[in-house]
Amino acid sequence: MRFILVDRIDELKIGSWAKGVKCISQTNEIFEQHFPGYPLMPGSLIMEGLAQLSGVLFEYSLMQLGHTHKRPVLTLVNKMKFRRFATPGDKLDYDCRVKLFYPDEYAVATVTAKCDGKLYAEGELLFGFADILDEKLLKLSVEAIESFLKNTKIIASDESNL
């Protein structure tokens, strides 16, 4: 199975930014252990959600640029900071802004997670681009992206940003 850690991607501007949402629910099994009687969303999972949002942004942007057989792979987490505890009931607004994007090489995104305007997490994520060599995997990849972007408002890129 795949752990999807972003509930909805609201808006995506090709090659520029993406905004998503993660709602934290008490029913999440993780809180049985993390921690008994004191539920806290692990920072690593917030980071993974932000990485998934960024990954979708880059993969979709690559597709739109004609690079159909590339997949972003998280290669480096830089300056990640967790400012507040995320607890059940919180609705985290995930934001990803492209800092650098070289479709033939790599990309860097600046990410934040906020709740009610307050900063919960921030950092910088680097992605390399791996080739998808198998047509079956490519199909799965395209399907995953489509399912992520089912309810997303897509905004076309400004050529100057790329």
Partner: protein, 122 residues
């Protein structure tokens, strides 16, 4: 500090090397220091942000010297290309018959510094 020494410092955390003495100017990134393709993303990013020079992965793979079919014989570089490489990188280690893979694997810290210096000057 010269470019080579700056690079040696920058490469330490990326390659998980604790002593700068282990990174010599003539050390090959892949063969001697164990750099993998995924490390190059970080190396190129750090060079861009900390040294202000944008380098492409193709430049490290030296595709400029090997991408033209005429430069290769059975996947190996010709004498003409070896001489050009020796001149451009101020060395004598390139010889006719080196494979494209060997070019990438033998790319040294000093070679990278040479590319950075050239870009800074241009």
């Amino acid at each position: 500090m010269n470019t080579t020494d700056q690079l040696r410092e920058l490469l330490m955390p990326v390659l998980g090397i604790t002593s700068i003495d282990e990174i010599k100017p003539e050390s090959a990134l892949v063969r001697d220091l164990g750099a993998e393709s995924i490390d190059f993303v970080e190396i190129l990013y750090l060079i861009e942000t900390e040294m202000g020079v944008k380098i492409k992965i193709q430049e490290i793979a030296m595709t400029e010297y090997s991408s033209d079919g005429n430069n290769l014989q059975d996947g190996k570089i010709t004498n003409e290309i070896a001489e050009r490489l020796n001149k451009d990188f101020n060395t004598d280690r390139f010889t006719e018959g080196t494979t494209v893979k060997e070019l990438f694997e033998s790319f040294t810290v000093k070679d990278l510094a040479t590319i950075i210096d050239k870009k800074r000057d241009s």
